[in-house]
């Protein structure tokens, strides 16, 4: 008997739409959904999901987009930002995006909680969520191209989450 199953494509799409709405709410309006991947992912924000669905929500971008996003969120010029503040801002973006994904899951009758975000910095980073199909969208926004990915599976034998 299978322990988990892939998220239905329409539910994955609803989660991605919710995630996109979170970016708009953060003051980063989505200009256009684009098919092209980000040439070099240099910042990854990863948020774990646990409960009746499990896996990860990922927000990815290039360094320039990350700095512009942090400046926009903090309403400060780049010279006033240090690495810790940039990562804190990006982590919060991940938290809010994943929160909207959890809400989309809840509306589909699936209870899931999100974890604390991790921010990874590097060059040409790749995203893999083991045993999960990664659904993703890329958007061009006022601060550059952003990608959101959800690698979630529905757990078939897990009780309702009791703790955050």
């Amino acid at each position: 008997m299978a322990l988990r199953e892939d998220l239905a494509p329409e539910l994955a799409e609803a989660c991605l739409v919710g995630a996109g709405q979170a970016l708009t709410g953060l003051g980063v309006p989505l200009l256009a959904q684009v098919p092209e991947a980000i040439p070099s992912i240099e910042y990854l924000v990863m948020v774990g999901v646990a409960g009746e669905a499990s896996g990860s929500v990922v927000v990815a971008m290039a360094e320039g987009s990350a700095l512009r996003l942090a400046c926009a969120l903090l309403q400060r010029p780049p010279e006033d930002l240090d690495e810790e503040l940039v990562c804190s801002g990006l982590g919060e973006v991940g938290n809010i995006v994943a929160g909207h994904v959890a809400t989309a899951l809840h509306e589909a009758g699936i209870q899931a909680d999100i974890g604390v975000p991790s921010v990874v910095q590097g060059e040409h980073l790749a995203v893999h969520v083991p045993s999960r199909v990664l659904h993703s969208h890329q958007w061009d926004t006022a601060i550059g191209r952003l990608a959101i990915g959800i690698g979630l599976a529905r757990e078939l034998a897990v009780p309702h989450p009791g703790h955050r």
Partner: protein, 122 residues
């Protein structure tokens, strides 16, 4: 008012401090639930804004702990976890209000003013 902002994101604490101090409030900060409970014990703020997803003691557990210390404590949840079950759990645990992130300065100030009005009405 003396307001304690509880959030693990330094960026959110800074943004909320800036918005609340501009309105004349005194602001304390705590980066997680455990420090929030200890700071509440020491400083007894008039209002607490509480994130939910934090390392260590989460916001709902911290809310319950603070309300155990002080049944009159005023705690407003400010979280990205806006699903109905979470909101209900927080309100049943004694939260004064629930604000879903992202929360811009104007909405935060309005929510605090609403909480202040509720407190005055009690």
């Amino acid at each position: 008012m003396k307001i304690m902002v509880v959030d693990d994101a330094a960026f959110i604490r800074m943004m909320m401090r800036r918005a609340l101090e501009a309105e004349g409030h005194q602001v304390l900060e705590a980066p997680d639930g455990e420090e929030a409970v200890e700071a509440y014990r020491l400083h007894r703020p008039d209002l607490v804004t509480m994130d939910i997803t934090m390392p260590g003691l989460d916001g709902i557990s911290a809310l319950k702990e603070i309300r155990r210390l002080d049944p009159q404590a005023r705690v407003m949840m400010v979280s990205a976890m806006g699903q109905q079950a979470m909101v209900l759990e927080a309100l049943q645990a004694g939260a004064l209000d629930f604000v879903v992130k992202p929360v811009e300065a104007e909405r935060l100030v309005a929510a605090v003013a609403k909480a202040e009005a509720k407190m005055g009405a009690v």
